[in-house]
């Protein structure tokens, strides 16, 4: 209780400050407060977590240095432990008592959905980079949410199209048996058939699983050329590891439908070599990405994942929109974010659509063989650039109520 009172006293003191300076931007309390709400310790802490916080801080530092804004920016963070109720509660509290203006990252869909609803109700902005599911910009979309980096449509679809094109016509799916796995499988299977491929079958595994050998044997028996892994995290990693153990790869190839560079890093190239995957960002793509990623590496001792890079990009774009709009009022800022193209190391000519989707180019990557990897984190060949309009669900097919208006 004491802390609370103290906290609001400080906030009040700070609120006095902008009245003194001639302010062009009318920002509530003179401070733009960003809350990084993510998984700091659980399953997704490697691909987002502390790295997401660091990336957000980098964006703020760079923005302050370059744009010299006339408002203060603060970053706070919390661990939502992948629990929807904790994140909803934290978000509410941040909005009500800490005057947080936007919430960043939000890994895992359940927490993202919970928070974006609260934020919308309170007229604040959600900058989602970590969460994957498409409902965020479809059935559940709202006008204060931006979904930045990737989703469960863009990743599998890009991979499936490319793999089918290269001759991998017959697919078999190993699917995590819950909503997320099902939708990942369905999105991919649709593309496979549309592109002229064939789905030979699927098997649903319990979540979380640890032994995938039975399912892999079924996949092997199907004779499919490509085994699609419609799962995530440790499930994907164990599937890949055991596929190699049972001699399934490289005879049949695997397609990771939701994979991050942190997964490849943990598994090692030995187990992952040759796999196709789609990513929204690769650190070693060009000079710009390398420059930023090396700065990130110095701070985190790891290369950034696409989620972390996306956090930076989203934060920067958001801050720029505040400056341009001259206010931190959510609707106005959202309008500016939509109007301004995203141009930074992360995205070229990216655009924020009406449904909240930030559309940008995706990359089809193939994991290098150990012999091809020349230096640490040298993991991918970028085989193809997938234009944003092809990568994401077209607005015409969107189920977002905002679109129909």
């Amino acid at each position: 209780m004491k802390r609370k009172i103290l906290g609001s006293a400080i906030a009040a003191a700070v609120a006095m400050a902008p009245a003194l300076s001639p302010a062009a931007t009318t920002v509530s309390d003179g401070i733009v407060k960003l809350g990084v709400l993510t998984d700091m310790s659980g399953t997704y802490s490697d691909l987002s977590g502390p790295g997401a916080l660091e990336a957000t801080k980098m964006a703020v530092e760079d923005f302050v240095a370059k744009e010299k804004p006339d408002f203060k920016i603060e970053v706070i963070s919390a661990d939502h432990q992948n629990k929807a109720d904790i994140s909803a509660n934290k978000a509410r509290e941040w909005f009500d008592t800490q005057k947080v203006d936007a919430i960043v990252d939000l890994v895992t869909t359940s927490t993202a959905l919970a928070v974006m609803k609260v934020a919308n109700e309170k007229s604040r902005i959600s900058l989602i980079s970590g969460a994957a599911s498409t409902p965020i910009t479809n059935e559940q979309c709202n006008d204060t949410t931006v979904h930045w980096t990737y989703d469960t449509y863009a990743l599998p679809v890009g991979t499936a199209k490319a793999v089918v094109k290269q001759g991998g016509k017959n697919w078999y799916f190993i699917t995590a048996d819950y909503a997320f796995g099902h939708s990942l499988e369905k999105n991919t299977a649709d593309v496979v058939t549309k592109s002229g491929g064939k789905v030979l079958g699927n098997v649903r595994h319990p979540f979380p699983g640890s032994d995938f050998s039975s399912f892999l044997l079924s996949a092997q028996a199907s004779g499919a050329q490509v085994i699609g892994l419609a799962n995530a995290g440790n499930d994907t990693m164990n599937s890949i590891k055991q596929a190699k153990e049972f001699g399934i790869t490289p005879k049949q190839s695997l397609a990771g439908l939701l994979m991050f560079i942190s997964d490849v890093h943990s598994l090692g190239l030995e187990a992952t070599a040759g796999m196709y995957l789609t990513t929204g960002f690769y650190w070693d793509y060009n000079d710009e990405t390398r420059a930023w990623s090396k700065r990130f590496f110095e701070r985190m001792k790891r290369m950034p994942t696409m989620v972390q890079a996306g956090d930076y990009s989203a934060t920067y774009h958001y801050l720029k929109a505040i400056k341009a709009a001259g206010t931190d009022e959510a609707k106005a800022v959202m309008a500016k974010m939509r109007d301004t193209p995203v141009n930074d190391f992360f995205a070229k000519n990216g655009k924020v659509r009406i449904d909240g989707r930030m559309v940008h180019d995706m990359y089809l990557a193939q994991v290098k063989k150990p012999s091809e990897s020349k230096y640490p984190w040298d993991y991918y060949h970028i085989r193809q650039v997938i234009p944003g309009d092809e990568a994401y669900i077209p607005l015409a097919e969107s189920k977002c109520p905002l679109v129909k208006k």
Partner: protein, 294 residues
């Protein structure tokens, strides 16, 4: 030839895989049964210690350059010693109390161990390579059996039945069994019962660590690998009934097989099949399949 539409060859493969998983269940439930027998404590930290075994193998390899074969011996000893330390410093104080406190203490320990490993190693964990001698596999005709998996089954069968032999057929084992029934009497015979309890706990923990080392090359070594497995092992233990050492081994292997079959015929149910069996067994035999009468 088909059985319910599944080629018999594929079925053989799946059964074999069920047996492999059953081996892990068997070693873990055996460790739990041994600890429970003498200490009357359900060792909730068993999963965390299993995870610790896997990580110690990885640490040994990566930081100290100790290969798999050294780890196979050294890790159970080290983790077992750690277990004895826990017993001496903490569990010892709980024997006079309700046995539930032992469960609660080990639950807390599991959280601490898991949390610390999570802090140090992150969640996605590390990869442990299959030892060179055991890489590759046999082509059995109906399936490709990785050598390493065959090795896991062999080791676990040897360890399980070895433990059974020691406990049920040797003098040392007879002390153990007597200690389960009547510790005071055993003490009166001049046997150092507290030491025996410490060593027993250490042995049970060492079994968990051994399972961890065996699992390291098969699964991704990560901090939560134990906590998901342990609940299933608990169900195995409830089904088996903790009545006998042999019971825990047989139930572990058997349930592995049943789970394997479920994965063929109805994969969606493979996560719950063990719990469903547990419900049925409890209805018919509340004490479990091999449980002692109340």
């Amino acid at each position: 030839m088909d059985i319910f539409g599944i080629p018999i060859q594929a079925l053989m493969g799946q059964l074999l895989i069920g047996l492999i998983n059953g081996s892990f269940y068997a070693i873990l439930s055996l460790g739990l049964a041994i600890i429970f027998g003498l200490l009357n404590i359900i060792n909730f930290a068993h999963g965390a210690l299993y995870m610790m075994g896997a990580f110690c193998a990885w640490i040994g390899l990566t930081w100290l350059g100790l290969n798999y074969w050294v780890a196979l011996i050294a890790v159970p000893v080290v983790v077992g010693a750690f277990g004895m330390l826990i017993e001496r410093t903490m569990l010892k104080h709980l024997y006079q109390l309700d046995h539930l406190y032992g469960l609660l203490l080990t639950f807390g320990l599991a959280l601490i161990i898991e949390g610390l490993f999570r802090y140090r190693f992150g969640i996605s964990g590390e990869s442990y390579p299959v030892p060179e001698l055991l890489s590759g596999g046999f082509n059995l005709g109906f399936m490709f059996l990785p050598k390493y998996r065959a090795w896991v089954v062999a080791v676990s069968l040897v360890v399980c039945f070895g433990s059974w032999f020691i406990i049920e057929r040797t003098k040392l084992g007879s002390y153990l069994r007597a200690g389960t029934e009547n510790p005071q009497l055993l003490q009166a015979f001049g046997i150092n019962v507290p030491l025996m309890i410490t060593l027993t706990y250490g042995f049970g923990v060492a079994l968990a660590a051994l399972a961890g080392v065996l699992a390291a090359p098969v699964f991704q070594v990560n901090p939560v690998m134990g906590s998901n497995l342990i609940i299933v092992v608990f169900a195995v233990v409830v089904i088996g009934g903790m009545g006998s050492i042999m019971g825990s081994i047989v139930t572990g292997l058997g349930l592995g097989l049943i789970e394997g079959l479920t994965r063929v015929f109805y994969p969606e149910a493979s996560a719950v099949v063990i719990f469903v069996i547990m419900g049925i067994v409890l209805l018919l035999r509340p004490a479990g399949l091999f449980g002692r009468e109340r």
